[in-house]
């Protein structure tokens, strides 16, 4: 499935991803986007080779490693068996499917890994279900499933929110999003996502949602409590 995606990570994000400097949650969102998007894959390849050249061209200076141990080290390393290419190629890479009420969705590579051991869905208000993923202590990562006709409360966040569409579509004040789309919202952008046909997403949030309207504002302290508790558990 070569999906035409319209919403991509910025070049800055792709470069930082190539450096290995993004959080795990964010890196996973970008990795999953790359499964849909050949142009971002190309960008990452270019960044990787640029970064590699820069790295090799830099003079490490005086504080290199002590190579005195290198003979012992070499012997130890070269006495280890090497990987047999065939075992890698034939390693089964079954994509994992996620089952919601009326649909099953085949997940991109990295998310297959994430969901391999199963996920636990939890109902929220407004026809929205989430499955929390323990991947990253610095960011909240979930699968989010919006039932057909559902709408999230109008909200904003303290940090960045990234939503990667996996199946179906959703829309908000700024556009409509399809599978593979990488949607980034900054803390200043208030938005109300909704979905007519239903939508499965992977979402990353580096701080709890701050709801800005109506009764849902009451949810805030509660949400924050849950999030903090989750943080403490993972310590």
């Amino acid at each position: 499935m070569t999906t035409q995606t319209n919403h991509h990570p910025s070049q800055d994000l792709l470069k930082t991803f190539s450096e290995g400097q993004l959080s795990t949650g964010m890196s996973i969102a970008i990795s999953a986007h790359l499964d849909y998007c050949s142009s971002c894959r190309q960008s990452v390849e270019v960044y990787e080779s640029e970064l590699a050249s820069e790295w090799v061209a830099t003079d490490p200076g005086a504080d290199g490693p002590q190579l005195s141990e290198s003979n012992i080290l070499m012997d130890r390393i070269t006495s280890q068996p090497q990987v047999v290419p065939i075992t890698q190629a034939t390693r089964p890479r079954r994509p994992v499917e996620l089952h919601m009420h009326e649909r099953s969705v085949r997940l991109p590579g990295v998310l297959s890994r994430v969901a391999e051991k199963g996920v636990v869905w939890k109902k929220l208000a407004g026809g929205i279900n989430t499955a929390k993923l323990t991947l990253d202590r610095d960011a909240q990562c979930d699968f989010m499933y919006m039932k057909p006709g559902s709408q999230a409360p109008r909200h904003t966040h303290r940090g960045l929110e990234v939503t990667l569409v996996l199946d179906g579509t959703f829309e908000d004040e700024l556009g409509e999003y399809r599978p593979g789309d990488f949607v980034l919202r900054e803390s200043t952008q208030v938005h109300t996502p909704r979905s007519d046909e239903g939508c499965l997403c992977y979402s990353v949030l580096d701080s709890p949602l701050l709801f800005t309207s109506g009764w849902s504002r009451l949810l805030n302290p509660f949400q924050r409590l849950l999030f903090n508790r989750q943080l403490r558990h993972s310590h």
């Binding site: 499964d35 970064l51 290199g64 190579l67 141990e69 070499m74 090497q82 890479r93 990295v110 051991k117």
Partner: protein, 249 residues
């Protein structure tokens, strides 16, 4: 202290070689030793034994030093070429260390990184080929992945995901399986058949959104109709198509 630590490092990485692998290794070793002697003989033309040995070693080293990263890495992968590996270590070791220092700001961790990375280069060298781009990029991504994992460990992040999962090569795993594809093609044929029976404005909307792959907004702009009109036409067209197919089945 350091030596003990190295022993620890390898203790949990010892993999028992089976006999055939050892025999194969021995063959490889004696073959490369023969090559070593031959080239030394050709180039050294006698002399006393000590001098000959020195010349020999220098020649082998120089030959290896002049090879590019790619051919060294391929030699390591294809024939467990230790001399080639040694040259790679000398080219990249200090650079890996510098990168480790930059990322972790910790000498011990940077040292770990060098050893881990070199071990992985050795182990994975058989997977490298020129299609994967330059050797330095291949080594860079490998080192980057180890850095990522080291940082995760440092921050005590939950297990279960590693850099190799995140930076895995995409094999277009989202491709549709053949059975599904076939079913989709049959359905597509049916849809095309009924598509002609839709009123022209509805056909147009379907064409812009599905065949030209435009967003609703873009399609509405290009067709010069309000977004609401486009959406209602689309909804109507889709429900008609669904009805057609439903009747057929």
């Amino acid at each position: 202290m350091q030596a003990a630590w190295i022993t620890d490092f390898f203790a949990d990485r010892v993999i028992h070689l089976d006999e055939t692998a050892v025999v194969k290794d021995m063959h490889q070793l004696s073959a490369s030793y023969d090559r070593f002697r031959m080239s030394a003989k050709d180039l050294a033309h006698g002399g006393d034994r000590v001098q000959e040995r020195q010349t020999r070693a220098t020649v082998v080293k120089q030959v290896a030093m002049e090879r590019d990263d790619e051919s060294l890495l391929i030699a390591v992968g294809n024939s467990q070429d230790r001399e080639a590996f040694n040259v790679l270590f000398h080219r990249f070791g200090s650079k890996i260390f510098a990168l480790g220092m930059k990322i972790t700001r910790n000498e011990q961790l940077a040292n770990d990184l060098v050893q881990e990375a070199m071990l992985i280069i050795w182990q994975k060298a058989p997977l490298y080929d020129l299609d994967k781009g330059s050797a330095q990029t291949w080594i860079f991504t490998l080192v980057r992945n180890r850095c990522f994992d080291i940082l995760r460990k440092l921050k005590r992040q939950p297990d279960g995901i590693s850099a190799d999962d995140i930076y895995a090569e995409t094999e277009l795993e989202l491709s549709v399986d053949p059975e599904q594809q076939q079913a989709a093609e049959i359905q597509l044929e049916q849809i095309q058949q009924y598509f002609g029976q839709l009123p022209a404005p509805q056909q147009q909307v379907i064409e812009y959104v599905f065949m030209r792959d435009l967003t609703h907004q873009e399609a509405a702009q290009q067709l010069n109709i309000p977004l609401g009109t486009l959406k209602s036409r689309l909804r109507l067209a889709l429900s008609k198509l669904r009805d057609f197919i439903g009747v057929e089945q």
